[in-house]
Structure formats: structure tokens, C-alpha cells
């Protein structure tokens, strides 16, 4: 047993302080107001304080911290992207993730499991090779492997997929692919930001943003008006409710993304398995549950309702891939919101409105970008200039016709 647990056994009172506070009321003015208390928003607050000494910051969250995409995703972290810009960005995220438990002194259960993207056709294998080559060029550990290697590493897999689907031709194998405790990422950032003096206001909703001469001057909330010259919108699936407040148009459309968990099982799957053709990704959590998801719901919807056809589909594909799972039971399903972009890359950085910064377009890839997006957005806010890593993701790329095409690496939600 680690010695760190001893204190709990030998203290009469629970020896832990609050991780974060609940300030009674809003101040009249903040240097920065961050809309959205998920990993991205809290993380931006954390790095603003840590790296730039900007601590007069309010994080405004209409629900509870980590309650949006942060707490609803399937917690997969990887950097095997297709474009130079994307792969570099997500690789920087992985590097931050790897050290985050230590930095927070909070165990995020950041666990490198190895990540397979199965290819069921020669065309799919080509895309995987493209990703592998770009990755290797950037020093990211990715390799295309053949079916027998897939079988060796995940022996439970049925390479023939039940015989009625295209068999597995190979896979992109990405050993650093990891899972993490998603909630804890938000809590860690919240604790760090809170300790530095950032205020976290939960159950507070932004109702409007005040603009004068193309510049932000304040934020209206259901608990009163706040003066501020800098606002960061980090609300992912709710972005389309915020951007009209500043008159900004974006390519975002919102789709639900659903997921399921099974009952807890003794460990048998220690890898992360993804199949773009089957629209499936699955891993087994430290609690023993299989956590699985599939592609986005097929039409726009800003609602976290569940559907039966989703669960039928994801179960069917799980059984196609792992025939032994027929007896295993799905325990619960849920949904999150994904703000999708046409090129499957995020929208980050400065906007045409002075003092309004956007961190959106997180589609299905927001969790894995949490540390790096927080860090680069903090830099962008502090210096009022897009951080070098996120320059390609500026909203203006669409009118400049310079899209960052990540569809080949991000079209399945994980």
C-alpha cells in the first residue's frame, strides 16, 4: 500500500481540504472571464495564473464543473492525427498529459494502453499508413501492422468480423494511446486555478456579452453583470448559443455523440480498439467496465437524449468484433454534445471581435486536447496573439480556404 494512503487510516478527521471553493458572489470586474467550467476553461484559467500571473479570472459554468464534454467523453488520448498541424498539436497535449498527475498531485489514472485503428479495407489501410507516416515524421509512435499482429496483440478479436462484414486488413497501432479519468482532469485544473485565486462560479449562466466598437466590455449573467475586456468561450457543444451574442458566425453544427458502458468485468481488454468502418471504439476502464462509443448521431441536435438504435448498433458491432461479448450486458448509455467543423479540426484563438476568444469545434476530439488547448488559449489571451501551435486553427481559416483536413483521423468519435 502506498504510504500516501496511511494518513487516511491514522487521521480521525478526513485530512483533505476543499479542492475548490464556491465564491458567494461575482465581483464587479475581472481581467478575464472564461465561459465554461470544463477541462478547457478551467485549464485555461490554470495556465493564465501559472504562466502569466493573471489571477483576477472568473470561470462561469452554468452547470457543474466538468459536466459537459469533459465528463461525457470516453477519455481516450492519442496523437495519431493525419495533418502536420493536428499531429503536432495533439502530441504536445500528450506530453502535457503524461506529467499532469504529478503536477496536480492528483492521480488522473493516465494509462497508456496502446491504440488500434482497425482497417477493414485497402482504402482504410492506406489512410492509416498516411497517418503512420506523418506521425513517424513528427516523432510520434505509430505503425501500420498486419492482421496477424492485430490478432497477437488483441487475441479476442475476430478478424473476420463475423463473416458478414469486410475482414480486418490491418491496423494503425499507436502505443502511446491512453485513457484517463476525465472528471479528475477538470478537478485538477479547478483545484490548481482555485489555489491561484481564480474564482469558479458554478450554476451561473452567461446570458449575453456586451460589445462596444467591436470590443468586449462585459458579460451579463443570471447573477449580474461583470465588466471585463477579455472573454474566452470554452463551451464546446454550447458554442452556437454563445457566438450569436457577439455576432460571430461559425461553421459549427452540433450533434450528439453517445456512449455506453457495460457491467464491470474482470480485465481482458487492455488495449483501446477503434474501427472506423464499424463506427466503434472500445476500451476497458480501471473499474472493469467496457466503455464504448460510435459515430455521431446522424442529425443536428443540441440535446443529450439517448437513442435505442445507437445502443443496438454499438452492441452489434462489439459482437461483430468480439463474438464472446454476446452475453455481456450494457448497463447504461448517455450522450454528449459535439460542435463539429467541416474539416474535423478545432476552431481556436482570436476572433474579429477584440477581446473575444474562441475555443470550440471540439467535435469528438476535445478531451484529448484539454491540456494543450488550455495552455495555448491561455497564451493567446495573455498575449492577444494566437499561439504558434494553434494558428492553423483560427476561425479565419475558412474564409482563407485553408482547412486542416482531419476527417481521415477523426471521423469516428473518440
Amino acid at each position: 500500500m502506498p504510504h500516501r494512503l496511511l494518513k487516511f487510516g491514522f487521521n480521525k478527521e478526513h485530512p483533505e481540504p476543499r479542492m475548490f471553493h464556491a465564491p458567494a458572489q461575482l465581483k464587479d470586474e475581472y481581467d478575464v472571464v472564461i465561459i465554461g467550467g470544463g477541462g478547457h476553461g478551467l485549464g485555461a484559467a490554470y495556465y493564465l495564473a501559472r504562466d502569466y500571473g493573471i489571477t483576477n479570472v472568473a470561470v462561469i459554468e452554468k452547470g457543474y464543473i466538468g459536466g459537459g464534454g469533459t465528463g461525457r467523453n470516453t477519455a481516450i488520448v492519442r496523437s495519431n492525427y493525419l495533418t502536420n498541424e493536428g499531429a503536432r498539436f495533439y502530441q504536445a497535449s500528450i506530453e502535457l498529459f503524461q506529467d499532469l498527475s504529478r503536477e496536480f498531485d492528483l492521480n488522473l489514472f493516465y494509462s497508456e494502453r496502446g491504440h488500434f485503428t482497425l482497417a477493414h479495407s485497402p482504402a482504410s489501410l492506406r489512410t492509416q499508413r498516411w497517418r503512420a507516416e506523418v506521425n513517424k515524421h513528427l516523432g510520434i509512435d505509430s505503425e501500420v501492422i498486419g492482421p496477424s499482429e492485430v490478432k497477437r496483440l488483441v487475441p479476442e478479436i475476430d478478424l473476420q468480423c463475423g463473416g458478414h462484414l469486410s475482414p480486418i486488413h490491418g491496423a494503425l497501432y499507436h502505443p502511446p494511446g491512453a485513457v484517463a479519468r476525465h472528471d479528475a482532469v477538470a478537478w485538477g485544473y479547478a483545484r490548481g486555478a482555485d489555489r491561484a485565486g481564480v474564482e469558479i462560479h458554478q450554476q451561473t449562466e452567461v446570458t449575453d456579452i456586451e460589445i462596444r466598437d467591436h470590443a468586449v466590455i462585459g458579460v451579463h449573467t443570471d447573477k449580474g453583470f461583470i465588466k471585463t475586456g477579455k472573454v474566452l468561450s470554452a463551451v464546446a457543444g454550447w458554442t452556437t448559443a454563445i457566438t450569436p451574442m457577439v455576432g460571430l458566425r461559425t461553421p459549427l453544427t452540433v450533434h450528439p455523440l453517445q456512449a455506453v458502458v457495460s457491467e464491470p468485468l474482470k480485465p481482458w481488454l487492455d488495449k483501446i480498439v477503434v474501427s472506423a468502418s464499424l463506427h466503434l471504439y472500445v476500451s476497458q476502464s480501471a473499474r472493469g467496465e467496457l466503455v464504448a462509443g460510435a459515430s455521431l448521431d446522424p442529425y443536428e441536435l443540441i440535446s443529450m437524449r439517448s437513442t435505442l438504435d445507437f445502443t443496438e448498433g454499438v452492441s452489434s458491432h462489439l459482437v461483430d468484433l468480439f463474438p464472446m461479448l454476446g452475453d455481456i450486458k450494457i448497463m447504461r448509455q448517455w450522450a454528449g454534445l459535439c460542435d463539429m467543423t467541416p474539416d474535423f479540426s478545432p476552431i481556436m484563438g482570436t476572433t474579429p471581435i477584440d477581446g473575444f476568444y474562441i475555443d470550440a469545434g471540439w467535435g469528438t476530439w476535445g478531451f484529448k486536447a484539454t491540456p494543450i488547448s488550455a495552455k495555448t488559449m491561455a497564451a493567446t489571451l495573455a498575449e492577444d496573439k494566437d499561439h504558434e501551435l494553434i494558428e492553423p486553427f483560427n476561425l479565419s481559416r475558412f474564409s482563407r480556404w485553408q482547412l486542416v483536413g482531419e476527417k481521415g483521423a477523426a471521423s469516428v468519435g473518440h
Binding site: 450569436p244 453544427t253 442529425y299 443536428e300 441536435l301 474564409s399
Partner: protein, 88 residues
């Protein structure tokens, strides 16, 4: 599963349909700037609330318009493009 009222085929489950995106007015290319054209090509409304959308009943090949609240998922009404309307 949602029921969608196809103006031709009547109420059918969602799985019989294909979503065709928001209804958008295409500007005349020669009359708009590059930026305005890019706005048309890429930007979407996406706001919570009622939006007009294209839906397609696959088996019969019927395109029609639905007015739908994209937050409550309620279909307000459906009708053929430029044609007759029917309550959802």
C-alpha cells in the same frame, strides 16, 4: 426512435430517413465577395431553436423540408420544397 412525418409517406421512424442539413439560400456567385461566398459555403446557423432542414425519405426518394427545434428535437411541421405543407 423519432417519428418523422414525410409529406408523401406519412409518419415513419427516423431510420427510414437521411438528414440533409440546414436549408440555406445560395447567393448568386457573381454578386457576392469572396468572403460572403465563404460565409455561405462554410458557416451555419447552428443556434439552439427552430431551424429549417432538408430530410430525405430513402426508400421513396422524397426530399422535403422540416421545421424542427434542434434543442427539443420536436418537428414543428414538414412540407415539400415549394409545395404543400402538412403538420408534423
Amino acid at each position: 426512435m423519432k417519428i418523422i412525418h414525410c409529406p408523401i409517406n406519412g409518419p415513419r421512424p427516423l431510420q427510414e430517413f437521411h438528414f440533409g442539413g440546414q436549408v440555406r439560400e445560395m447567393p448568386v456567385g457573381s454578386q457576392v465577395s469572396d468572403a460572403e461566398w465563404a460565409d455561405y459555403v462554410f458557416n451555419r446557423s447552428g443556434e439552439p431553436g427552430i431551424q429549417r432542414e432538408w430530410w430525405y425519405h430513402t426508400a421513396s426518394g422524397t426530399w422535403f423540408i422540416a421545421e424542427r427545434d434542434c434543442q427539443s428535437d420536436e418537428f414543428i411541421r414538414t412540407y415539400l420544397y415549394g409545395g404543400r405543407e402538412s403538420d408534423a
